[in-house]
Subunit: 141 residues, 2 copies
DNA sequence: GTAGTTGCAAATTCTTTGCCACCGT
DNA sequence: ACGGTGGCAAAGAATTTGCAACTAC
């Protein structure tokens, strides 16, 4: 139910500085790209060049701790962010473009639960990342 | 099957220096722990204190490129290594101890394949990590 | 007004690398 | 012998932090 990030920040009682408004505005339109801090910083400084990258780092961390953003660490080493307002899902990373596709497979989740219970554990969280190439794209194998 | 790492290195024609022998010897006994470079370095310098951490980094990288080691990056940020001589498997990380348990669930793999094919992709590699707590241990929830 | 924020640069953490002496084959 | 290696310390890349000035509430 598409509530704005800004609204969530207000609900959480976060102090909304000019910098945070800009960062949140960028996230509002870019969160589907799973941007990293560098990408966010680039868009943010287009709007307000005086914002420092430290502020971007501090703000995404704040929003993560507030449960508004989710930090992902894919195989490229950097942290990439998405909004936390959707159902749990996993990620398919298109190796030819870097694009991230979200998917959810309840059957896989159920199997995980079962398996982990069999091992005597209870899942706290998990991550499944699939790195893949498009089928129709040329088979560079 | 249980071929020694040292033997694999020789087969690959890697020059076996004193330092590499020590590092390989440590890996031989510690690879089931999925040690990180720091852990390896600690054990290595117990045997030969003159070996530098740069050499450990260079050697694990070399062994990874030779297909002898697999580098994992779990949620703790550092690279952790295991030998590449076993079947593909995924990891369950025991949050209470940090211990890593390997598992293989062909059903999950099959579902992944099917799903990814449906999305028009072909899997190159994937990673599934499950972070969990023991059931009998106290429920810190 | 005051505590929370910011920018800047310096610090951290993990990993890589340039350089020159050294050692395996 | 000679080209691949190792040690050391400096360089990198991503991220965090100390501090003094600033600003939202």
């Amino acid at each position: 139910m598409r509530e704005t990030i800004l609204h969530k920040c207000e609900v959480k009682g976060l102090r909304m500085t000019g910098q945070r408004r800009v960062i949140v505005q960028v996230l509002e339109t870019a969160h589907q790209d799973h941007p990293d801090v560098e990408a966010l910083y680039a868009k943010v400084t287009e709007i307000d060049p005086s914002i420092s990258i430290a502020t971007v780092y501090r703000t995404v961390k704040l929003l993560e701790e507030a449960g508004i953003l989710i930090r992902n660490e894919f195989a490229d080493g950097r942290a990439r962010y998405e909004t936390a307002d959707r159902e749990h899902h996993d990620h398919l990373i298109d190796l030819s473009t870097g694009k991230v596709i979200e998917f959810c497979e309840p059957e896989i989740e159920a199997l995980q639960e079962k398996l982990v219970a069999k091992l005597g554990y209870k899942i706290r969280f998990h991550r499944l990342e699939i790195y893949a190439d498009p089928i129709n794209s040329d088979e560079t194998d």
